[in-house]
C-alpha cells in the first residue's frame, strides 16, 4: 500500500512557522527532510516520501503540509490561502 503512494506527494514547509526542532527530520522513514543552514526543515528528497503522515501529525508548529502531487498540479485554481498570507491578512 505504502509503495503505491511513494513519490506522489507534494510537501510544503512554511519556513516562517518552522522553529527547527528537528522532529520531522529525525523520524522521517524516507529521510525526505533535512535542516537547512538557517535551521529550518527543508524538503530534500521529495521522491522518497511514502506519505506516512508522521511529519504532518507531529509538527508542533503546523508548518508542514503533505498533499497529493496530482491534485496540486491538476488543480489549476489558485491554491488556498497559505498560512503565510492569512497571517498578514487579518
Amino acid at each position: 500500500m505504502a509503495n503505491k503512494k511513494k513519490g506522489k506527494s507534494k510537501i510544503t514547509v512554511y519556513p516562517d512557522w518552522c522553529k527547527g526542532c528537528g522532529i520531522c527530520v529525525e523520524f522521517c522513514p524516507g529521510r525526505v527532510l533535512e535542516l537547512s543552514s538557517q535551521g529550518k526543515a527543508t524538503v530534500v528528497r521529495e521522491q522518497d516520501c511514502i506519505r506516512c503522515g508522521f511529519c504532518e501529525l507531529h509538527c508542533p508548529d503546523f508548518a508542514i503540509v503533505v498533499q497529493d502531487k496530482d491534485f496540486v498540479e491538476a488543480d489549476k485554481l489558485p491554491r488556498r490561502r497559505s498560512a503565510k498570507t492569512t497571517d498578514k491578512g487579518e
Binding site: K19, E56, C59, P60, V65, V66, Q67, D87
Partner: protein
C-alpha cells in the same frame, strides 16, 4: 477536487490574526496536543460555536488563545470551576478544559478531585510536562523522583503524582493517558473522551525540553520524543510485564471507561421532576 487534509484542517481552526508561530518553544509537545484536539473536534464534526475551550495559566493556557472556538483564559488552577459554571449554564456546549500539570494537580488539585466526584460533563485535558515551564522550571507535583530541576538542583525528593490513579480514585467516568508521540492513539482517546457523558480525564504526556529535558540528560528535543517512544507501553502489555520490566515504563491507553450520566443531566431531570410535582 483537492480535498483538505492534515495540517490544512488545522489552519482552518486557527485565529490567524494572532501572531504565528506560536509562543511555545521549539520541540514543545503542546502544539501537537493542540493539533490533535482540533483534529478530534473536526472528526466529531462539532460546530465551532458549540465548543468551549477553558484554559488555566501556564504554557498550556496559551493554547486557548490560538484556536477559533469559544475560549476562556482563566485564573491559575481554577479552569475546572469556570468550566463547571459554563456547563451548568448551557449543558449543550462541549466544554473542554485544558490544564497543565501544575494547574490541575497542585493549584487546582482540589477542583480536579471534586469535579471527578461530581461527574460534571467536562473533558479535562491535562498536559503533563513534568515541570512548571513558563515560570522558570520549578518542580511541579508531576516531576519524577530524582530528576533535576531549577528548584531541586540535587534531585527531586518527593514522589510524583500519578494522574491516572488520582482521577480513578476520585471516581472519574473516563480516564485515559496518551503521549504526543503516539498521536493517532491520543486522537482516538480525545474523540472518545469528548463524546462520552460525565467527567473525562485525558492525560497527555508532552515533553518540555527547555526547562526539564536540558537538565535531565536529554540533549535535544528529539531525545525526549525518543524517550516517549521507548517508555510508553500500551496498558494491556504493561499488565503482563514483570515488576522489573515496569521500571521507567509508562502505561498508556484507556484505564476507566464508564457511561454514568453527568451532573448536569441529573440536575435537569431533578428539575423536571420537581416541576411535575407542582413546584415553582
Amino acid at each position: 477536487m483537492n480535498e483538505i487534509t492534515g495540517n490544512e484542517i488545522i489552519h482552518q481552526y486557527l485565529r490567524h490574526n494572532k501572531k504565528f508561530p506560536h509562543v511555545l518553544c521549539a520541540g514543545c509537545g503542546h502544539g501537537i496536543v493542540l493539533g490533535t484536539l482540533i483534529r478530534a473536534i473536526h472528526t466529531l464534526a462539532i460546530p465551532k460555536d458549540d465548543v468551549v475551550i477553558v484554559a488555566g495559566i501556564g504554557c498550556s493556557g496559551r493554547l486557548a488563545v490560538y484556536v477559533d472556538f469559544n475560549t476562556v483564559h482563566t485564573t491559575h488552577g481554577r479552569a475546572l470551576t469556570f468550566a463547571t459554571g459554563i456547563k451548568m449554564a448551557n449543558p449543550k456546549l462541549n466544554v473542554i478544559c485544558i490544564m497543565g500539570d501544575g494547574d490541575a494537580l497542585s493549584i487546582g488539585g482540589n477542583h480536579l478531585i471534586h469535579a471527578a466526584r461530581r461527574n460534571i460533563g467536562v473533558t479535562a485535558l491535562i498536559l503533563n510536562n513534568n515541570i512548571y515551564g513558563m515560570t522558570g522550571g520549578q518542580s511541579s507535583p508531576a516531576t519524577p523522583e530524582g530528576s533535576t530541576t531549577m528548584t531541586n538542583p540535587y534531585g527531586q525528593l518527593d514522589a510524583s503524582f500519578d494522574t491516572v490513579a488520582l482521577a480513578r480514585g476520585a471516581g472519574a467516568n473516563y480516564v485515559a493517558r496518551g503521549t504526543v508521540f503516539h498521536v493517532k492513539r491520543l486522537e482516538k482517546i480525545m474523540v472518545e473522551a469528548i463524546s462520552r457523558p460525565g467527567f473525562s480525564v485525558v492525560e497527555a504526556i508532552t515533553p518540555c525540553h527547555t526547562q526539564y529535558g536540558r537538565k535531565n540528560r536529554y540533549k535535544t528535543p528529539v531525545d525526549m520524543y525518543k524517550w516517549l517512544k521507548k517508555a510508553a507501553v500500551p496498558i494491556d502489555r504493561y499488565e503482563e510485564m514483570t515488576e522489573e520490566q515496569r521500571t521507567d515504563r509508562l502505561p498508556i491507553g484507556v484505564f476507566v471507561a464508564e457511561d454514568r450520566s453527568g451532573f448536569e443531566e441529573r440536575y435537569l431531570s431533578l428539575q423536571a421532576q420537581m416541576r411535575a410535582k407542582g413546584g415553582k
